[in-house]
């Protein structure tokens, strides 16, 4: 990996084609033609002066990846892995398992990279593969654990153990959700995907994703304030 990619992953904001601001996980330095281009902090947004940091840029790198450009894998790995890691960490228990899933995901991406179609959004394609890897990984781990250990006491849902006056971390909050809802919320809030992109990633319809998201919001409201009064006159 080029030295430029050794920097820690940082989150930054990038505008999409539609102009909607969304989370994007980039890297501090960017390798291109043997030089480093540094992000600059401007008005709270991390921007790179020489490179379009929009998601359309990922399309170009995917195209180069398909064409066999040796620079492309490093760029894509550094750009997408932090978000994928967080996606996995909010879905599985240990960081070690998340690292394994990340590795499996990139191997799977490499094997099926010919199925990415130019002009299509990259992130739903990536997340569709990551989601499948997570499901396979979960099954594998479940099989191993079934043979190796016996679980006498189920762990308490961490979301309920939080003090009421402090906000739980995102992972803690979504841990109390059913798997399908957790997946949708993580993609929306961590991956920065739109409803349509989540639908693409989950092989679902936009309506189904919207329904899951709204059920998740309702459940999270209850987790955040289990027995508190709703003080909104017009609240639903």
């Amino acid at each position: 990996m080029p030295a430029a990619l050794r920097a820690n992953a940082v989150s930054c904001q990038a505008a999409t084609k539609t102009g909607v601001s969304r989370k994007y996980f980039g890297f501090r330095n960017f390798p291109s033609a043997g030089r480093e281009m540094h992000f600059q902090m401007e008005s709270g947004l991390l921007k790179c002066p020489d490179v379009d940091r929009s998601f359309t840029d990922l399309d170009t790198w995917m195209q180069r990846y398909q064409d066999g450009d040796p620079e492309a894998p490093g760029v894509l790995i550094a750009a997408i892995s932090p978000a994928l890691l967080r996606f996995f960490r909010s879905q599985v228990a240990s960081c070690h398992q998340a690292d394994d899933l990340l590795q499996d995901t990139w191997l799977r991406i490499h094997r099926v990279r010919h199925t990415y179609r130019l002009g299509e959004p990259v992130l739903p394609w990536i997340y569709a593969i990551a989601r499948r890897v997570r499901v396979d990984g979960y099954r594998r781990i479940s099989r191993i654990m079934m043979h190796e250990t016996t679980m006498d006491v189920l762990p308490e849902p961490p979301a309920q153990a939080e003090p009421r006056d402090t906000l739980p971390a995102f992972e803690t909050l979504v841990a109390g959700l059913p798997e399908a809802q957790r997946e949708v919320i993580t993609m929306l809030k961590v991956g920065g995907l739109s409803l349509e992109e989540v639908a693409r990633a989950t092989s679902s319809t936009v309506g189904a994703v919207k329904q899951r998201a709204h059920r998740a919001y309702e459940r999270m409201r209850k987790l955040l304030q289990p027995d508190g009064p709703d003080d909104a006159p017009g609240g639903v």
Partner: protein
Amino acid sequence: MNCNDVDKGLDIGAIAGSPDPEVREHLNHCARCRKLVAALSQPAYEASASPVALLEQIESGLLSDLRPVRRTRKAYLLAALAAIFLVGVTFGVSRIGAFALAVMTPVQAGVMLGAVATGAVLTAYSLVHLILPGSLHRIPPAVLPFAIALAFATATVVLFEFQPELHFWAAAWWCIRTGTVFGALAAVPLWLVLRRGAVLSLVMTCLASGVFAGLVGMMVLEIHCPILDVWHILFAHLGVLLILATAGLATGLAVEKFQPQMRARP
């Protein structure tokens, strides 16, 4: 504004820090929404160090096998599936004849053949979307087989009559056997085409493949079988679809259980 509007705003990330007075007023009054918005607006990534060694290891692994690949084209996949359907139906009809067209009215023939053909087109689209990750499904893949079966059954009940038949079981068995064989034959080239993509959801892909193969068998029977009894069509013709769809589903479940990771050929 109410909590549902907040949910809609959260979907598109337009709530946190919104200058809209209606949003701010609702958040001031509704503690549940305020807490939810605050919890979901926390920094998404705590700047924890990326596992650099891991990323390097992944990159070196990818670079060791990096070569240009030929992109999979959706149009080619759809064309291949259309060819499989047409060749499969033509082959079947050429072997057993097209006697149904002579006894059905034009409306019956048009609606029944149209229903099967429409089902095949929708299933082909669903299949292609299943093997191209990140595709948008207009109809959920799990719902489509039921919708096709229901539409076909409805058309059958509306267009045909319940007629007593002397050799119901013998005729039904012949149709089921013949339709299943022709459908199963179509499943072989179908699987070769599907391997060009990325089979992520093996169960759903196998189910859709079974439905597609079943529709090939059904089309052959609809063109061949001169029996116009509703029970015969529902049991023997629709039965082919159900048998092959179930077989596909069972295959998918079995393979997924014993072979967790399917390999796709670039």
